[in-house]
């Protein structure tokens, strides 16, 4: 049962509240995942620590070589940000495809990461950018790559009773780089993806220097298609290569059978298609 709902104004104050409550408090951001959970089952926590009034967590800004995204930024804000569209097109696309307008107006990118669903659109796109996460606790802050943030379905290494995700950083886009996000769902709005895929490509003179491909849900956590990424290194940006990359991706993913959201075989086949389309989209996005 929830006994209190606090609105700290700073990160320090929020951390102090969490500490005071000794594991009985939980951080709340947009609440789009947490609120139905509170209603459905007896919650283990008694105090909600709300990040809404912490301004630092709600900014999108340029740093010298990086883009800083506050974890309290909503999907709508991400979708509308020119800075994100220019620097991280795939993230902009992912933000516009997730949920419904109502959910995008409340749901935050930080919550999307901490909730750790394998097909979380925002988190999946960020994975393709090798985003870095800054996590604060009373002991100080640490920075980890997003791919190290997940433990299992619905479980990230960020403990919302002790720690706060305080920053997300990606490299600014450079010449020769492009990205794209692909998503297939039962409906075009308000449906979880059957499969989604974020692609980032870095190229020089028509050759791929490196590629990053994140796919979900094909594993317990957002999945990086490392074999496909390895294959793409040094290859040319041609339809034949994209086709082959798709085939390799469909071999390395390990999706589950879902009677509602597609069989394993279907999702494997779809992985090939979305990786190929994602590569085409990323190529078109290269500047």
């Amino acid at each position: 049962m929830i006994k209190d709902h606090l609105f700290p104004k700073t990160i320090e104050e929020a951390l102090a509240f969490l500490k005071e409550c000794k594991g009985k408090a939980r951080l709340i951001a947009g609440g789009t995942d947490l609120i139905p959970e509170i209603r459905e089952k007896e919650s283990e926590f008694e105090v909600l620590v709300d990040i809404e009034k912490i301004k630092k967590l709600k900014a999108i800004r340029e740093e010298s070589k990086k883009i800083f995204i506050g974890p309290g930024v909503t999907f709508s804000e991400l979708e509308e940000s020119e800075l994100i569209r220019t620097n991280a097109f795939a993230l902009s696309q992912a933000a516009s495809l997730m949920g419904s307008p109502q959910v995008r107006n409340r749901g935050t990118i930080g919550g999307n990461i901490v909730s750790a669903q394998p097909a979380a659109d925002g988190a999946l796109a960020l994975s393709a950018f090798d985003a870095m996460l800054e996590i604060a606790s009373v002991r100080g802050t640490r920075e980890i790559p997003i791919d190290k943030a997940y433990l299992d379905i619905g479980k990230s290494i960020i403990n919302p009773s002790k720690e706060i995700l305080v920053g997300i950083r990606l490299e600014k886009r450079k010449k020769g780089e492009g990205s794209n996000y692909q998503r297939v769902a039962m409906r075009r709005a308000m449906a979880l993806p059957i499969l989604a895929c974020g692609v980032f490509v870095k190229s020089t003179n028509g050759l791929i220097q490196s590629a990053r491909i994140a796919i979900g849900p094909v594993s317990n956590t957002p999945f990086r298609a490392k074999e496909t990424e390895g294959f793409l290194e040094g290859k040319s940006l041609t339809p034949e290569i994209f086709e082959r990359a798709g085939e390799i991706a469909s071999e390395e993913v390990n999706p589950r059978d879902s009677r509602l959201r597609g069989s394993r075989i279907y999702r494997k086949g779809l992985s090939a298609v979305l990786v190929k389309r994602g590569m085409e989209g990323a190529l078109a996005n290269i500047r």
Partner: protein
Amino acid sequence: MKGKKQVGKEVVLRINGKEEKVFCQPGETLLYVLRNRLYHTEVKEGCGKGDCGACTVLLDGVPVDSCLVLAYQAQGKEILTVKGLGDPEKMHPLQKKFIEKGAIQCGFCIPGQLLSAKALLEKNSKPSREDIKRAISGNLCRCTGYKKIIEAIEEASEKMSNQ
């Protein structure tokens, strides 16, 4: 609850331009407080978990599912329900067009549809069909097939921008 202090406090919510004081408990959704504590039954409860949009209200002008917002979080914000849009004597052009076009059948999704449409027209006075579809994509309707709803919003936008 014997021997336990009742948790909760009085909060002030600004609903349709009027401040309303209400006792509520932390963890209670805005939807629950609006309906069960303040009798704003014009806000409809559908799925209760953000999948249907029936409980849509505008919070500082943007559509949200009131089942996914806690009442405590709505303090200090402007809440608009369909009753704040207009009443039978003074209807909003959207409300008039919904009736004229026959966009209302069972009516359950309509408060949400109207508020999503209102938020759209505030931002974009001449939306395309695609813009309209996207704006109401979070509001499920099981009767109309959306066609008449989309037409009603389109005609209301034309009427409003001609005024």
